[in-house]
């Protein structure tokens, strides 16, 4: 490689670090504020059905954001992140129902345990790359899925019910009310998004993006690539577990199906629809996905068939995702 092209590569790397497309920053900020305003005011004008959908979109969005940290920013395609979604739900179920801990103890302990499990799994999985990584994450998630079906003390395939929602009585509120629960989900999702945004824009995040672009170069710059990958894997898992906790609270129960590899696939699909390595992409993808899924369930029982076809079409023709395409368009227009 000539010095000139090396220099060019460096500049490319620099701009990637800031934002893949410099001009899109203002546009995405505007989009951010606008969405934020609509989302905050939603309960004042939307129907109960729309709010249910919005809650589902936000939970799915948090899950997909966790996956995006791996796929979009680190370049590791995992087909097993649903195991952490399930572990999050099972974590608070076991903590509150079996051990009798209050929710505010169970939830943090769940996240810490998930982080430790994910670090161990990540240490094994990140020894491989590419399709092998995809296969081994899949195998791990199948292991947890199988365990959840077999284990008797978590009620096997029936799952566990009676998951508590946060106790907000001191504020004079009840989380069982759809509006209050909506704002609870909104707050947690916003915090998760903020955390993710901080991670991606930190020096740690830059190294992750570097790994995605050119792993060998990052390695030769002296970074311990393996540790960064494990870190990304664990962080991704924690965010997925947060989504799992929210999901379990939303439905009041958790069952092994939340860990199936179809759920992992749905998460990956949302990331691709929205656009990888865009911070809001997963939420846009989740919105499209949830709405399409709802519409499909109204017209057909054959969800698998259409899910599969939809998945194939998106991967084949829509690789950049909605926000990726938008960003390219804005770039052309300027």
């Amino acid at each position: 490689m000539s010095a000139e092209s090396l220099c060019h590569k460096d500049r490319e790397f620099q701009s990637l670090k800031l934002s893949t497309f410099p001009d899109s920053r203002r546009a995405s900020a505007a989009l951010f504020v606008l969405t934020g305003a609509v989302v905050c005011a939603l309960p004042s004008f939307a129907s109960g059905y729309a709010m249910t959908l919005a809650v589902e979109v936000m939970i799915a969005g948090v899950f997909a954001s966790g996956i995006n940290l791996l796929i979009g920013y680190t370049g590791l395609v995992s087909l097993g992140q649903a195991m952490f979604l399930g572990l999050g739900g099972y974590g608070i179920a076991v903590g509150t129902a079996l051990l009798g801990w209050p929710l505010w103890v169970s939830a943090p302990i769940t996240l810490v345990v998930v982080a430790m499990i994910a670090a161990a799994i990540g240490a094994i999985c990140t020894r491989t790359r590419g399709v092998e990584f995809l296969l081994i994450t899949l195998a791990f998630s199948q292991m947890f899925y199988g365990a959840a079906i077999k284990l008797r003390w978590t009620n096997g395939s029936d799952g566990m019910s009676g998951i508590p929602r946060p106790d907000l009585s001191q504020l004079g509120l009840s989380a069982h009310s759809p509006v209050v629960f909506y704002y609870y989900i909104l707050t947690v999702s916003a915090l998760a998004l903020l955390l993710l945004w901080r991670i991606v824009n930190s020096p740690f995040g830059s190294v992750l993006i570097g790994i995605r672009e050119n792993e060998r170069r990052v390695m030769s710059m002296g970074y311990a690539v393996a540790n960064y990958k494990i870190g990304a894997f664990a962080l991704s898992a924690v965010i997925c577990a947060v989504a799992g906790i929210l999901q379990a609270q939303y439905t009041y129960f958790v069952n092994p199906d939340s860990m199936s590899w179809q759920v992992s696939g749905e998460g990956v699909l949302m990331v691709i629809i929205g656009g990888t390595n865009v911070i809001l992409g997963p939420f846009v993808g989740a919105a499209v996905f949830v709405v399409v899924k709802q519409a499909l369930s109204l017209i057909t029982d054959e969800y698998n068939l259409f899910f599969g076809i939809f998945f194939m079409l998106v991967v084949a023709f829509f690789r950049g995702g909605i926000l990726g395409t938008l960003r390219t368009l804005i770039g052309k227009w300027r």
Binding site: T128, F140, A147, E215, V268, L305, F307, G308, F310, F311
Partner: protein, 292 residues
């Protein structure tokens, strides 16, 4: 001792069934660098098409011969008209293609559910292979011995074709240097599509072979394909001989843990996978991979 022999044969039988799937997956990956997650779909497709043929003709053997033709055609079309053009457009790396086949896996399961519902079906064991054979103090179902024989025959035939024939030589050359094979005047796209179809046909063959001992249902391919993935990772992706040995290791681990340590049944195969990943991430029989 008799119990051990019985379990050994059970393990062997499972190993050979998984091998029929794993070898197709390995062949496709080794040659085209495509991880076909839809491999389980071809297994299901073969079983159902076999079921149709068996019902129409009343013959298991007709089902066994004709059943794999549908997966063959489907695999050929998938590679020639979908995956190959996408790969050529350069937009899709092999990870994208893997994700596309992931969608196909669910689309097929959904389509089968649409056509046949979620009922369970079975193909009757052929008269010739009914009953049991007594040897070494045990009695073993003849059909299960047939599965073992089928697996070994396919392994032997494949190793002969790949090591000793012109087709095999072309394939091996295609793995090593694709451009050079094209320059020698071989239409590599057709060759690849044929191999893809052949790998899919093997999965379909496994589906028909499994039909008398397993139930046929819409999600049958999704369960077994995960075991197959463990096999190809343990054996080293793209390594044909590795896939044979790894099938034996995984099949035996699964069967023996079920028989002697029922509590560990679920974890034994994954524990094996984890151990292999820690000791040799490139697979037990894989060559040392290049970095990045």
């Amino acid at each position: 001792m008799q119990l051990f022999l019985l379990q050994f044969l059970n393990g062997f039988q499972l190993s050979m069934l998984v091998f029929l799937l794993a070898v197709g997956l390995t062949l496709i990956f080794g040659l085209m660098n495509i991880l076909n997650l839809a491999h389980g779909a071809f297994f299901t497709m073969g079983a159902y098409f076999g079921l149709i043929i068996a019902k129409a003709t009343g013959s298991f053997w007709a089902a066994l011969l004709i059943g794999p033709l549908l997966p063959f055609a489907a695999g050929f079309v998938l590679q020639f008209y979908v995956l190959q053009p996408l790969a050529e457009r350069g937009r899709s790396t092999h990870l994208d293609l893997a994700l596309l086949t992931f969608g196909l896996l669910f689309a097929t399961a959904g389509a089968v559910e649409y056509l046949y519902g979620s009922s369970f079906y079975s193909i009757a064991t052929p008269d010739l292979l009914k009953g049991r054979i007594a040897f070494l103090g045990i009695e073993y179902p003849t059909y299960r011995l047939f599965i073992i024989a089928a697996g070994i025959s396919v392994a032997a035939a494949l190793s002969l074709v790949i090591d000793r024939t012109l087709i095999g030589a072309t394939l091996r050359a295609g793995v090593d240097n694709r451009e050079m094979v094209t320059a020698l005047g071989i239409n590599i796209n057709v060759l690849f599509a044929l191999v893809f179809g052949f790998g899919s046909a093997l999965a379909g063959f496994a589906g028909v072979v499994a039909a008398p001992v397993m139930s046929i249902y819409s999600n049958m391919g999704i369960g077994i394909v995960v075991t197959t993935f463990v096999v190809v990772v343990v054996g080293g992706l793209g390594n044909l001989k590795g896939s044979f040995y790894a099938s034996l290791i995984v099949g035996m681990t699964d069967t023996f843990s079920q028989a002697f340590f029922p509590e560990a049944e679920l974890f034994a195969v994954y524990a094996l996978l984890i151990a292999v990943m820690i000791i040799r991430p490139q697979g037990l029989f894989g060559a040392v991979g290049r970095l990045a």
